[in-house]
Structures are given as structure tokens and as C-alpha cells.
């Protein structure tokens, strides 16, 4: 089913165009990486604040409100640039187990980001007033950063785990 769709997509004119114009894929990958840079550094700043390593002169919600919108904005860019890359090479990506793993990890990371934003919006002082949960919050922060790292690693591995084109 997925294979049929991938093959159909790879024969559409738009896919053909992306495949055959030499500079499109590297350009779109560059935009994709720059958006990843925004996500990694924004998540990183929030994580550093939770760990108590940066931004301590600001309340937690200030830091969250400063960086979370950048994560969402970059995710939109990632979605569009990623969609172009998939359209250009549908069989290479959609049926690729590494790509599928990446999408599952991404879904989890997006849920975590949304849940995090909701807690900040619902109660501005939730994270500031939660020293009791400090250890849990720190562990959670490190794991979340690790999740984004895993998504980026999976993304790079897509190119090396392409199933044979039969």
C-alpha cells in the first residue's frame, strides 16, 4: 500500500522535477538543517533553564515563551521542507524503517512540546514553583533533548538504510 503510493508519487511531475533539478534537494536539505538548528538551540535553552545552567535571572515562563514559538515555527519549516524531500524520493523515505522510526519519535516530541506549552500557559508559575519535582523535571528535560537528538540521528540515517528498489 505504502509502496504503491510511494511509487505513484515518484512518477508524478512534481516528484520528477525535484529529482531532476540538481540543486533542489541540497538546497531544501540546507533549509531543513537550519530549521533543525533552531529547534535544537531553542530546546537546548529551555533544557539549560530547567537544569539551572542558564537564564536563571528570568522566570521559567519567560524563557518558555521566548523559545517555544521558535520551535513551532521551525517545525512548520521542517514539515514543508521534509515534505519536499519525501516527494522527491518517496520510495527511499516512506518505506524506509528509519524514516518511519523518525516519524514516531517526532510525534512523541511534538506531543511533549505541546504538553509542556500547555502547562506553562495554564499556570505561569508551574515550573518555577515545582522544586519538589526538580529531579523529575531535570530528568525529563535531558530525555527530551535526547529525543530531539535521536530524531536528527534517524534523519541522517535515512540515507544509509534505503531498502532495495524492487
Amino acid at each position: 500500500m505504502l509502496m504503491l503510493f510511494s511509487k505513484w508519487l515518484s512518477h508524478t511531475p512534481i516528484s520528477d522535477f525535484i529529482q531532476n533539478v540538481l540543486w533542489i534537494i541540497p538546497l531544501v536539505q540546507t533549509i531543513h538543517i537550519l530549521a533543525i538548528a533552531i529547534v535544537m538551540s531553542s530546546v537546548g535553552m529551555i533544557v539549560l533553564r530547567i537544569l539551572g545552567l542558564a537564564g536563571l535571572r528570568h522566570t521559567f515562563s519567560e524563557i518558555a515563551l521566548r523559545y517555544v514559538p521558535w520551535i513551532w515555527g521551525a517545525l512548520v519549516v521542517l514539515l514543508f521542507s521534509g515534505a519536499i524531500l519525501v516527494t522527491g524520493e518517496p520510495v527511499r523515505s516512506l518505506t524506509n524503517p528509519t524514516f518511519q522510526l523518525k516519524m514516531i519519535l517526532l510525534f512523541i516530541a511534538v506531543c511533549i512540546t505541546a504538553a509542556f506549552q500547555i502547562t506553562v500557559h495554564r499556570d505561569h508559575r508551574f515550573w518555577d514553583l515545582a522544586p519538589r519535582h526538580a529531579t523529575a523535571a531535570k530528568t525529563f528535560a535531558v530525555l527530551t533533548f535526547g529525543l530531539w537528538v535521536a530524531i536528527a540521528v534517524a534523519g541522517r540515517w535515512i540515507a544509509y538504510t534505503v531498502l532495495s528498489y524492487v
Partner: protein
């Protein structure tokens, strides 16, 4: 002379291990991409403050001292992983035009940073809280963003042009 060094690097046991292994190169490359992404993202946070786009309530010095040590740490990871990838095919990388362009852009980013610190950042106490900052600081921020975006673009282009 340079050929001797390149071939020597290429023939090191570690280099051939990276070439032969199915997983080493992609793993090193993944670490390289993540390190560069973090370097550029964190530099961009400071650059955008210099440009007056974001972080208005934070003094430039505070943001720099919080962010830039992490930038340096990840930059070291990018240098080491980049060095390992270079070793594995040293002569091919050395002759690759996008690779050379990337090194030039990296040098430009470095020179811009040095100039910023020696000439502009010295007087930071006078404009630490200004939004936007001095015209010269804004130019340094804009140049920094431009060079680093160029580094990513040239770096990605290497993968499409490298031989062997």
C-alpha cells in the same frame, strides 16, 4: 608535500576503519550535523540579539556568557567529527570545491568573530542593554549569520559532489 600529508591521513588505520565500516561514517556524520546545528542555533540567538530582533530584555553580555560556552563545546565536537570524516577520504575532500568553500566561509566566520571581540565587544558595557545595538555590532551579527548559513549550505553540498 600536501599530497604526502593527505595520503598519510588517508592511509591511517582509523581512516580505513571509517571507510570500510558500514556504521562509523553515518554515526560520525550524525554527530557532526547535530553539533553544527547546535553551534549555529546558539550563535543565531546572540546574532539576533545584536540585530535587535529578539531577546530585548536580556543584556548582550548576559546572553553571551550563558550561550557561547555551549557553542564552543559543540564546535569542538563538530571539529573532531569533521576531522574524522575528512581523514577517511582526505585527498577527495581536499580537492572538493564545496569543501574548500566551506573552509573559507568558516574562516570568514572566525575572522568576523575575532574582529567583533577585539573592536566592538570591548565597549559592550556602554551598549549592553541597547536595542538595537551599535551599527557595527549589527553588521557583525548579520555577517555571522550569513557566513554560518553558508557553512551549512556548502557542507550539505559536499555530500552531493564528493567522489569515491
Amino acid at each position: 608535500m600536501i599530497d604526502l600529508i593527505l595520503n598519510w591521513l588517508h592511509d591511517l588505520p582509523l581512516s580505513s576503519a571509517i571507510r570500510v565500516s558500514a556504521w562509523m561514517f553515518p554515526t560520525i556524520e550524525s554527530a557532526h550535523v547535530i553539533a553544527i546545528a547546535t553551534v549555529i542555533g546558539s550563535i543565531a540567538i546572540v546574532d539576533l540579539r545584536l540585530l535587535g530582533v529578539t531577546s530585548h530584555r536580556k543584556p548582550v553580555t548576559e546572553l553571551s556568557t550563558e550561550v557561547l560556552p555551549w557553542t564552543w563545546g559543540f564546535f569542538m565536537v563538530a571539529v573532531i567529527t569533521g576531522g574524522l570524516m575528512f581523514m577517511s577520504k582526505a585527498p577527495a575532500y581536499f580537492g572538493n570545491t564545496p569543501f574548500r568553500l566551506k573552509m573559507i566561509l568558516l574562516a570568514c566566520a572566525g575572522l568576523n568573530m575575532i574582529a567583533f571581540h577585539l573592536l566592538i565587544y570591548r565597549s559592550v558595557h556602554r551598549w549592553d542593554r541597547d536595542v538595537p545595538t551599535l551599527r557595527s555590532a549589527k553588521i557583525a551579527g548579520l555577517l555571522s549569520l550569513t557566513f554560518w548559513i553558508g557553512v551549512v549550505a556548502a557542507g550539505r553540498w559536499i555530500g552531493f559532489t564528493i567522489e569515491g
